[in-house]
């Protein structure tokens, strides 16, 4: 069983990112569970989402306290909150950032990987300059880094699940997938 936690902000599509991943994984006949933090998030405020993956049915309906990996959709959160909370020793932290893994304090204690999802999103004109929509790019990177699914599955998941600009999103995901 693999458990992952996502950090983002209300309105950035953090939940969507986890949902797309879940779709992709399910396409490969694995069992998956994805859920947002159970809260009243407001636009801009920090939010969290989780996903649980296994190759047999998942009966545990309790929440995830010690994830295997952490994904940070919004880098400004790294200062704002403790994104490593409960993270299993040796777990991977994937951050949307143009900086290098070494630049992060918790590098070493954990495997840190960065991907400039924002740049990719902007390049593919996803969302606005002020508020680029990075969820598909993030999904691409995470899929690859954690080896969760094939690129095809992810692409298919995006085509099912993302109504607008599906192809641009697929390309963003693909670029992120291949870059990392």
């Amino acid at each position: 069983m693999v458990e992952i936690r996502f950090h983002g902000r209300g309105g950035q599509g953090t939940v969507v990112a986890s949902k797309i991943l879940a779709d992709a994984i399910a396409k490969e006949d694995k069992w998956v569970q994805a859920y947002p933090e159970f809260g009243v998030e407001r636009r801009g405020s920090p939010v969290v989402a989780f996903i649980r993956i296994d190759d047999k049915p998942i009966f545990d309906k309790s929440r995830i306290y010690a994830p295997d990996h952490v994904v940070v959709v919004d880098p400004t959160l790294v200062e704002a909150i403790d994104i490593t909370e409960g993270l299993k020793p040796g777990g991977t932290i994937i951050i949307n950032s143009d900086r290098r893994p070494e630049d992060f304090p918790f590098h070493g204690a954990f495997k840190v990987r960065t991907v400039d999802a924002t740049a990719i999103a902007v390049k593919h004109k996803l969302g606005s300059l002020a508020a680029p929509i990075v969820n598909t790019a993030i999904a691409g990177a995470v899929t690859k880094i954690l080896g969760l699914a094939q690129l095809e599955s992810l692409a298919a998941a995006i085509r099912d699940g993302v109504p607008i600009k599906a192809e641009d999103n697929v390309q963003a995901a693909t670029e992120a997938y291949e870059m990392t």
Partner: protein, 302 residues
């Protein structure tokens, strides 16, 4: 002007400096409802008690065991803003506190829909409360579903683009006017001084007083947070949300006569919730606004 002269110059405050609403609250960026609360409390002061039903403000104030306001709040059931306020007022009076102003503070859903019966009852009894409806034109706290305050044409999650709302906005001011209560006023977050003045006036009137306050919601309107004040101002200036007062359901006063009203078009274009509308549909909205405006002028004349 010289830097020293400037250093000398006082910072202009068109409203009292005291803040009974503090920062740290949970409103979204650019929330109009929050600004409305801030302004009202400046007018009513510390001797105020609020009854807040389910609505964004039930969240904005902050979770247990915290609060953002310096006045007591009773968080009441969704449909009970008016009836709870009536009870609080009676309870305070029977225990010796006759000065405190009791305010029911509710959203448009809690007022136009599920709370209208309690409100109508209080108005009929002329209970001694101020009822404030901050109108963001949908159920925002639950994630943008239509209310009867949602205007014609608007997208919400329960009026999807293919089935956008085709009924006009319920005219709550006309409905309350028909109750012939002592005082009714509309206000907009874009005109805080006007809101402040009216609230001060209402404070000294006895009986049921009703405020309809226009409070844009960037999250629900799919507008830019920074446009909140601009949108509210446009709505006032194009007659979409006229500023007025009605006394005893009779004497209607338009607070700013607009000689040349701007078209609603550009106001609507700034909001994602109207993006799908075709020109003729926007024209329909314009027509409705014009008609209502005419009725108002008539009403004032009468």
């Amino acid at each position: 002007m010289s830097q020293d002269a400037k250093n000398e110059k006082k910072f202009t405050m068109t409203l009292p400096a005291d803040e009974l609403m503090a920062c740290g609250h949970l409103a979204c960026q650019g929330c109009g409802a929050t600004l409305a609360m801030r302004t009202m409390l400046k007018a009513l002061g510390k001797k105020t008690a609020l009854c807040i039903p389910a609505c964004c403000w039930a969240v904005i104030d902050g979770p247990y065991p915290y609060s953002s306001l310096d006045v007591p709040i009773y968080h009441c059931a969704f449909e009970t803003a008016a009836s709870t306020a009536t009870g609080v007022k009676a309870g305070l009076e029977m225990t010796g506190d006759t000065e405190t102003t009791v305010v029911a503070w509710a959203g448009d859903g809690g007022t136009f829909d599920i709370g209208i019966q309690a409100l109508s009852g209080a108005a009929e009894r002329n209970d001694d409360i101020i009822y404030v409806c901050y109108d963001n034109e949908a159920y925002m706290n639950t994630g943008i579903q239509r209310s009867s305050a949602t205007p014609y044409g608007a997208w919400t999650t329960t009026t999807p683009v293919k089935h956008f709302k085709t009924r006009p906005k319920k005219d709550i001011v006309a409905i309350m006017a028909a109750h012939r209560i002592p005082y009714i006023a509309t206000a907009s977050v874009s005109h805080p001084e006007d809101f402040f003045k009216k609230m001060k006036k209402a404070k000294d009137i006895k009986g049921t007083r009703f405020f309809h306050v226009y409070a844009p919601c960037p999250t629900g309107w799919k507008s830019r947070p920074e446009d909140t004040i601009k949108l509210a101002r446009m709505a006032v200036q194009n007659g979409y949300f006229p500023l007025l007062e009605i006394e005893n359901g009779e004497k209607t006063t338009l607070n700013l006569k607009l000689k040349d009203r701007k078209p609603v078009d550009d106001y609507m274009r700034l909001q994602g919730r109207f993006r799908h509308l075709k020109p003729d549909q926007i024209a329909a909205v314009q027509a409705e606004v014009d008609a209502r405006w005419e009725r108002l002028l008539k009403g004032c004349a009468a």
